[in-house]
Subunit: 242 residues, 2 copies
């Protein structure tokens, strides 16, 4: 029985798992859990992940959630995975753990707080908090600066590597979520960080063509959101002229 990956391509950690499986030729079945339709709260899915979040996997009888734990498990459980994704060397592996742990309270917290409170919450009719969005943007900018000046200081990929690891896939997929913002905001946030921008491109290339294929869903959502914003802004302009 092939590995089952429960995912929603709107979710950045879900995309990381899908790209990782594809680039490493892991045989898997993708099962969509539509988060906007609250399918993560169904009793069937809660039996797989009681935290009601995507992604999760089932490998044989073994269930697992939390995307970093999944990436590490897949790196070790499938013998075809090249060692640069999750190095066997003790200190290199420790550095990968360090950046993955750092990610949770920094880049991830910033991106999720900003995108949820400015784009996703209004879209699905949930309350949003602009003060939280503002604080999240500060965390995000600080995190990007740390990636630029520390994590990418000595190499093409994170922690000074010449080849990508699971950390590059995880963190770049997180940053891609900013594509849901307006083009102007996305540029304003990313353009000061030249190394970050180059690293995103390098990670895309290293995981081509799967990176773009898995992100196609996000780009289509981006297009719809930007068109909707443009229509709303047009309506407001007409209103203000009346």
């Amino acid at each position: 029985m092939a590995l089952k990956v429960y995912a929603d391509r709107m979710s950045q950690p879900s995309r990381a798992i899908l790209i990782f499986c594809k680039i490493n030729d892991i045989d898997f079945e993708e099962i969509r859990v539509d988060v906007l339709k609250n399918q993560q709260f169904s009793p069937e899915y809660k039996a797989i992940n009681p935290m009601s979040q995507v992604p999760a996997i089932i490998d044989g009888r073994f269930k697992l959630f939390e995307s970093h734990a999944i990436l590490i498990y897949l790196s070790c459980a499938f013998p075809g995975v090249a060692s640069h994704w999750y190095p066997g060397d003790l200190s290199n592996r420790a550095k990968i753990h360090s950046v993955l742990d750092w990610h949770h309270s920094n880049l991830r917290r910033g991106t999720v707080g900003l995108v949820f409170n400015t784009i996703l919450a209004p879209l699905v009719g949930l309350p949003s908090n602009l003060q939280t969005a503002k604080e999240a943007e500060k965390i995000l900018m600080k995190s990007l600066s740390k990636i630029e000046n520390f994590w990418l200081k000595d190499g093409r990929f994170l922690v000074g590597s010449s080849q990508p690891s699971i950390a590059d896939i995880s963190l770049v997929c997180e940053i891609m979520q900013l594509e849901l913002l307006s083009e102007k905001d996305c540029d304003r946030i990313l353009s000061p960080y030249k190394k970050v921008v180059k690293w995103i491109e390098d990670t895309k290339k290293a995981t081509a063509p799967h990176f773009d294929e898995v992100h196609d869903f996000l780009f289509k959502a981006q297009k719809r959101i930007r068109e909707r914003k443009a229509t709303e802004s047009g309506k407001n302009e007409v209103k203000s002229k009346l």
Copy 2:
């Protein structure tokens, strides 16, 4: 040269590393980084951890920060560490990673947000946000419920183990930070979770006498904070009667 552990015993992840080293007879030197005196921002410490957080370690020439990454590194780098702390078996190890990853955005986020905004910020004259504290308490209660009903469901320790792992040390040290609240608040938060309370005791016993010795610093701080609160509340009572 012995392992160097840069720590502040007021910090819960610092205490986790210290207890782990002591229970496993790892030869180490503890170097205090006094967070209340902002020593984590000194250029010397930033050269060890550019994120200006405790704990960090130096092992020979190898520097590492993020407490979970450190616990995993120590488990693998020191041959005397018993395998239950960080199991070699692929699926058991994956479950430990899963609970450690889950911790960041759940139990840790809840505890830090609550204790910082109600106790630590006012203590050091930093602005506190009671709305954030309220939201953090919600995250904390939800996290404790998940520990009670999922993570501790099948065993004495996390992920159904009969012996403690690095995850037990990390999460119990986090919960111990609640000791800085008033006795009433601490009881109100923890007492509904019987399994959690038992698990805390079991983890203390499994790491005795080091657990209490390392926490002595926190208990002394707790005493000072509670005395100060009592004095302030006495003064307010006198004022209200005038």
